[in-house]
């Protein structure tokens, strides 16, 4: 379990990083290394060059505005959880971020792994890919040609596969703010605490001005090849929060997903969990939406 030989570059600027990525065919960005290094050690990946972006300045900030939260490429998972003004501001504007991040792995991994790295890694079992989808987020991609914004729908192509090709560094991920009169919840079931989820669910419930359910959206982990957002509104539309049949929304969700089975869970079991987690998280999110509507 030793990686194959690779060259290593630790550029001091984004330009330099892009230069190396351009010059060295098969170069790969290294951020927190929590996904990439195990792949190298098992020789499942053997990039010719690693471009370590950890010394590139300016990528380690969490910027929160009324529009949403912008998370820089070097912000560690823990940066959204830790007791800090940045994390608190982010949690206020988009609470889903911290709620989901709390389910990512264990502290040691959260201290190194990055939110953006998780997204670039495009693992449909990851929390952050689902959150980016559910919030309707996007990433900023720097290439030698300049910067562009790539929406989540255009980013995720397949398991561990994004649309990014050629020399590119994701400089940040942007998570739009939770809309007015909305609440969110996140829950997952894993075999052991901190493991990748067997199934997870993130939901957003939005109420109308009469405090009736106006919109319900959900995104799931470890279900399907790429993150998807499912609209469950029709099951509960127009219902008051305490009169909504969240189980019906769960049942609808079960018909919309197409999970795979693996050694930890059958497809049927995942489908079961989609229903249960949907029902449980919706009740919680709706309660939050009600609270935020009252406020």
């Amino acid at each position: 379990m030793k990686p194959a030989p690779f060259r290593y570059a630790d550029p001091r600027s984004l330009e330099e990083a892009l230069d190396v990525l351009t010059a060295e065919h098969g170069a790969k960005v290294l951020a927190g290394g929590q996904s990439l290094i195990p792949l190298l050690a098992m020789r499942l990946a053997a990039p010719a060059t690693l471009v370590d972006i950890n010394r590139v300045p300016g990528l380690d900030t969490v910027e929160t505005t009324g529009d949403g939260v912008r998370v820089g490429a070097l912000v560690r998972h823990d940066g959204l959880l830790r007791d800090s003004p940045d994390a608190t501001a982010a949690a206020r504007v988009q609470p889903l971020l911290a709620r989901a991040t709390a389910n990512v792995a264990h502290p040691a991994i959260r201290n190194r792994g990055t939110t953006v790295g998780s997204i670039a890694h495009a693992d449909p079992s990851g929390e952050m890919t689902a959150v980016l989808a559910l919030t309707g987020g996007s990433v900023t991609v720097a290439t030698p040609e300049g910067r562009s914004t790539v929406g989540w729908q255009d980013l995720f192509v397949g398991p561990l596969e994004t649309s990014l090709a050629g020399p590119a560094v994701v400089v940040d991920a942007f998570f739009p703010a939770l809309p007015a009169r909305s609440g969110t919840a996140f829950a997952e079931i894993s075999r052991r605490k901190g493991d990748y989820a067997v199934c997870g669910a993130g939901v957003v419930v939005t109420l109308d001005e009469d405090r009736r359910v106006a919109a319900v959206r959900a995104s799931y982990l470890s279900v399907g090849l790429v993150p998807e957002v499912h609209d469950l509104t029709e099951a509960v539309a127009g219902k008051p929060v305490d009169g909504a049949d969240w189980a019906a929304a769960g049942a609808l969700a079960r018909t919309l997903v197409d999970p795979d089975g693996d050694i930890h869970a059958s497809a049927d079991y995942r489908r079961l969990l989609v229903g249960v987690l949907t029902e449980r998280t919706l009740a919680e999110a709706a309660a939050e939406a009600l609270e935020r509507t009252a406020a």
Binding site: M1, K2, A4, I189, R192, K193, V198, H264, Y269, L272
Partner: protein, 807 residues
């Protein structure tokens, strides 16, 4: 007396070293050594048709490549059948490097030696081995069906047919008022020590000697195996087990191919060579345990008393049988547990599969035996509508029945005669500790929270401390330091502390003066190894006897000096003194100096022992039959094993929507005779329970039909984290063993034995469906619950869940 530390919760002296990173493990040695890596078979069953090393030859830093063709003499022969047995009629072992056919994924085919492990793996990557694939046998059922064979010349895949019976079982079953027959399964798991295996070898060409460090549980026997296989004289080979990061059984197997190949390469190259196993190698080329199919028929009366028991076990032994049939014999003989079974017959068919070998993993066949017996008890209770604790109580061997002869032959070839125990006592304590009789209230409370609650128990008896022997050496130096040595190895259990406690207590010295060494053939050449919960029983008694020998000699010498009768002397805090006469004393270290008559005084203390200082002209300085030095070597060899016992209970809560299973309460009552160190025993129990929970709910070896292990990493092989292990309530009972001087029984493996049985029982109690296969995960429980054909227990009426489960 302050030095009587036997029985005290002395803190583990090895911990400071081990938990602050100061341990000296295999991979900490030989920083400049060449590194070995292996090309291993990617196929479960295949003929090697070609090995092409060409592409590897220009890797910079490559030093050597070995294939089977390079092996000579005994190295070219099959690996030894370590424990032969007359009923192992078709033993098969592999070769150090594959010779023709590979029989499981992970078998070593080519050895590469290079300047470091990275380079060795680079070169290994470039070696192209061609295979012709052969039909694959995976799982005990496929092996039974024998549509394909693992070894050409074993057409039924049966390696051994082990058979024991204590009476005529068929008429006894025919006469039984009730009988039940059922089949159940238990899956594979593995030891998974944090440190994998590892070997480092250094050949001293000038001296013609070999020094090998191995992360082993049996250094003396590894030494003998290396000497035999490499055709070296035993006195030219030293084997040392450094700090070892866990063993749990996998490191008792030896010699591993790497344990022979690394020294071979070191000799041929005249360079230090090291191999440290990585995790993937450990998964696919070390050892697993536990898979069995158990077919059980039991006869019992209206009270639930067993009248006859007939068990047929199909045991998956993997591709080879280097460790003989120890695991199936233990299952066969320990299955009966604490119960009096009037007539018992057991047949174990040990079958080959194209998977990693099966050798002892903590518990070593006992968890399976316990699972068979305890689930039988649950079935009887369910059939008769009796309380499960009550059925067990009615079948227990009673305290007045000891020594109790089961009329079976144990893994050491000796009779299964229980030396002592109090099984009703265990059961009573367990019932109280877990709150067995309050289960109804717990169930109602859980139900109010939307959960299903179940409770289960399992009892076991564990034969521990089998022979043939262990030895101990105790020596008092002139500095007052007491050196203790035993050949048996340590893997972090706390041997240094326990043996020091024993010697300090026996000798009457401060524990800080005692230094313990284990597993080093330079210090102690005769030993068997660490397995079967035998360290405290075997080496504990051996070092106690050695310490008693030293004490006797010390008193004799001191009596001369103090002009007293040895019987009037005592040793306390390192001082030999006349009882009741303050001041009339001599330090033990001075006795040590005097024990060695000297011509030369190399230091101040030594002057006391030189020839013009000591006087008595009437005797030679060293009396006939005596020896210089204050030291003694002694051995403990038991007539047979001593039998520890225990009882566990688990309370589980199950979410009836997600089928997540949570062990919310776990109780252990434990009896290992006299306890040397209760803190260490509790630690052993806790660790064992963690592994028991792992085996019941999380761990399995997920082989696919092609014999590929799909979960060969810690990401997918789910050992429980601390967050999955319940808090454990522990109560002790001490029934001393009459068989050994210290009255102790083994404690190392016990914690793991009843986990699977107790948790299966608790889940069955919670959901009212028969649990016939373990481990069980939420996804499997969900499948069981929505399977209309799944058997409901009679007790299922009390389960709140009566409606079907949505598909």
């Amino acid at each position: 007396m302050t030095t009587k530390l036997f029985g005290e919760p002395v803190r583990r002296r090895e911990d400071a070293r081990l938990i602050t990173g100061k341990g000296r493990y295999l991979d900490d040695l030989g920083a400049g050594a060449l590194a070995a890596a292996f090309v291993r078979s990617p196929h479960a069953h295949a003929r090697v048709t070609d090995v092409d090393v060409e592409a590897a030859l220009d890797v910079e830093g490559l030093v050597a490549i070995y294939t089977y063709e390079d092996l000579t003499g005994p190295m070219a022969e099959p690996m030894p059948v370590l424990i032969p047995h007359p009923q192992l009629h078709a033993p098969r072992t592999g070769y150090a490097l594959a010779n023709g056919v590979v029989h499981h994924v992970g078998e070593p085919v080519v050895m590469v030696v290079a300047t470091d492990r990275y380079v060795a793996e680079d070169a290994a990557d470039r070696i192209a081995v061609s295979y012709e694939e052969l039909p694959v046998v995976v799982g005990v059922d496929a092996a039974r069906e024998a549509r394909a064979t693992v070894h050409d010349d074993v057409p039924d895949n049966v390696a051994a047919r082990h058979h024991q019976e204590t009476g005529d079982v068929e008429p006894a079953l025919a006469a039984a008022p009730h009988t039940l027959s059922f089949t159940q399964y238990i899956e594979r798991s593995a030891c998974m020590p944090l440190e994998g295996k590892g070997v480092h070898a250094r050949w001293d060409a000038d001296d013609g000697s070999l020094r090998v460090h191995s992360s082993t549980q049996a250094s003396t026997s590894v030494r003998a195996a290396i000497a035999a296989k490499l055709e070296l004289s035993l006195d030219r080979v030293e084997v040392i087990a450094p700090d070892v990061g866990g063993g749990f059984g996998v490191k008792i197997v030896h010699p591993w191919p790497e344990e022979l190949l690394v020294p071979m390469a070191a000799i041929r190259l005249g360079r230090e060579v090291k191999w440290a196993e990585d995790r993937r190698e450990h998964f696919i080329s070390s050892a697993h345990e536990r898979q069995q199919r158990q077919e059980i028929t039991v006869g019992f009366d209206d009270d639930g008393r067993i009248t006859a028991l007939d068990v047929h076990v199909w045991h998956d032994n993997g591709a080879y049988t280097p460790y003989g049939i120890i695991v199936p014999i233990i299952t066969a003989t320990q299955l009966v547990g604490p119960y009096a079974i009037p007539v018992y017959r057991v047949v174990v068919e040990s079958v080959y599969t194209n998977t990693v070998i099966v050798t002892p993993y903590r518990g070593a066949g006992r968890p399976q035996g316990c699972y068979a017996m305890e689930r039988t008890m649950d079935r009887i209770a369910d059939a008769l509508g009796l309380d499960r604790a009550e059925v067990r109580r009615r079948n227990l061997i009673t305290p007045d029945q000891f020594p109790y002869d089961h009329r079976l032959t144990f893994q050491d070839g000796r009779p299964v005669i229980y030396d002592s125990g109090d099984y009703p006592g265990l059961l009573d304590k367990l019932v109280a500790l877990v709150g067995w009789d309050e289960a109804g209230a717990l169930r109602a409370d859980a139900q109010a929270r939307g959960k299903l609650l179940g409770i289960g128990m399992a009892l076991y008896v564990e034969g521990t401390g089998p022979g043939p022997y262990e030895g101990g050496h105790v020596q008092v130096l002139g500095s007052g330091k007491v050196l203790v040595s035993t050949g048996l190895t340590s893997q972090g259990q706390g041997h240094e502390t326990v043996f020091a406690q024993i010697v300090a207590s026996e000798l009457g010295v401060p524990i800080d003066d005692v230094e313990v060494h284990t597993g080093d053939t330079r210090r102690f050449g005769y030993a068997v190894g660490t397995f079967a919960s035998r360290a405290a029983v075997m080496s504990g008694n051996a070092v106690a006897l050695a310490a008693r020998g030293v004490r006797e000699k010390a008193l004799r010498i001191a009596a001369d000096v103090l002009e007293a009768d040895p019987a009037d002397l005592e040793i306390d805090e390192g001082q030999v003194q006349v009882k009741g006469t303050p001041g009339a004393s001599i330090p033990l270290r001075t006795v040590a100096v005097l024990s060695n008559p000297l011509r030369y005084a190399f230091d101040q203390a030594a002057q006391q022992a030189t020839q013009f200082v000591t006087h008595d002209d009437s005797k030679p300085p060293v009396a006939p039959g005596d020896a210089p030095g204050l030291e003694h070597r002694d051995y403990y060899s038991p007539i047979r094993s001593t039998f520890a016992s225990g009882a566990h209970a688990a309370v589980v809560e199950i979410d009836p929507r997600t089928w997540e299973i949570d062990v919310v309460r776990y109780a252990v009552v434990h009896d290992c005779g006299n306890v040397v160190n209760p803190m260490i025993v509790e630690g052993q129990v806790q660790g064992g329970v963690a592994q028991g929970v792992g085996g019941a709910l999380y761990e399995r070896m997920a082989y696919d039909g092609d014999g590929q292990l799909q979960n060969a990493s810690f990401m997918d092989f789910l050992m429980p984290y601390a967050s999955e292990v319940p808090d454990i309530a522990i109560d002790h009972q001490e029934t001393p063993s009459p068989l050994n001087p210290l009255g102790i029984k083994g404690a190392g493996e016990a914690g793991v034995i009843p986990g699977t049985a107790a948790i299966a029982s608790a889940i069955e109690d919670a959901v009212g469906r028969r649990i016939t296969s373990m481990p069980i995960s939420p996804t499997e429980l969900y499948d069981l619950m929505r399977d209309e054909t799944a058997e409901r227990t009679a007790g299922s009426q009390q389960v709140p869940l009566q409606t079907g489960v949505p598909a």
